[in-house]
Point group: C3
Chain length 137, copies 3
Amino acid sequence: MNIKFKEIVINTKRRREIVNITEEIQKFVNESKINNGICLVYSTHATSAIIINENESGLLEDIIRKINEDYPIEKGWLHNRIDDNADAHLASTFIGPSVTIPIKDGKLCLGTWQDIFFLELDGPRIGRKIIIEVLGV
Amino acid sequence: MNIKFKEIVINTKRRREIVNITEEIQKFVNESKINNGICLVYSTHATSAIIINENESGLLEDIIRKINEDYPIEKGWLHNRIDDNADAHLASTFIGPSVTIPIKDGKLCLGTWQDIFFLELDGPRIGRKIIIEVLGV
Amino acid sequence: MNIKFKEIVINTKRRREIVNITEEIQKFVNESKINNGICLVYSTHATSAIIINENESGLLEDIIRKINEDYPIEKGWLHNRIDDNADAHLASTFIGPSVTIPIKDGKLCLGTWQDIFFLELDGPRIGRKIIIEVLGV
């Protein structure tokens, strides 16, 4: 069995932002020479998330709108007594920091309408770190 | 280490529908002869999800009711300029396309009240594909 | 490849409660002598979840407040015809029973502000079982 790691570093420009990382991940799967296994994509931040869905600009705006509606910035959050980003922590908690995708015959088993995205919830930020781990044979 | 894949194909009949796939997954775990490892259940669609909870008919209806309330079909979603299923994409994005379950002594480590379900969010559809991957020894 | 399992047993005291399990998990990763791989943390209950976020007391209260708002106890849930905890099942369904974290150089790849928590949604309960599985080399 082989295990390979890669760290992707992302700089974001807006408070909420969706960054497509599919190509970088598939490229690393290719480089890993691992043909069958799993790919774990893990964000090391408590105010971000990793999501999978369709790469359509309207939908990506809908996702951000939905997050803004479900996690309002001002709602008397207790965490905001010491910081100003409780909304981002809450969204990150419930959306989750990672996804796991099967790798078969050297390819990520993504469906036709599935891309992998880093979801910035409290940008702009420099140096967001995402770990890609490929494990298999 | 061994890795085994199986594809489950599901046809759905309603817009929102919950399909119990636990038995098929456990059967494949048995066939794989892998005694200890993980089972990754991954849906290849951007308008579906995989969930784990209790197989009780009232609860399954509650789950669908909750999705309908949280992801209304008409709410001026931008994705609906080019399609009519933004609600399904949004629910899929936030619920997630996969689950990972430990396998120990040849069995999925599901609790007494845990079953695994395919969640159709934009049916009816023919040929929904779910990948089951068993990895271990 | 090696695979090691450990079961954590937790007793909770309140209906909603957040229990930090990070230290026990890292300790088990150390004991496993597995340096590179993955750590799957899986709750075997349909009225609980596993989450990752910052260990800040205000935020942990915000998380519980948000769950109470999003999953009200009384809302005519059908599951409550046979039980009284539909809200807990629904939260568990959508938040999810597990997390997977990369292990690199013997350490969980958690970010500075990431801890791992058991989320009780229907306590108080005796004997909540969480499976920690470490898989790797």
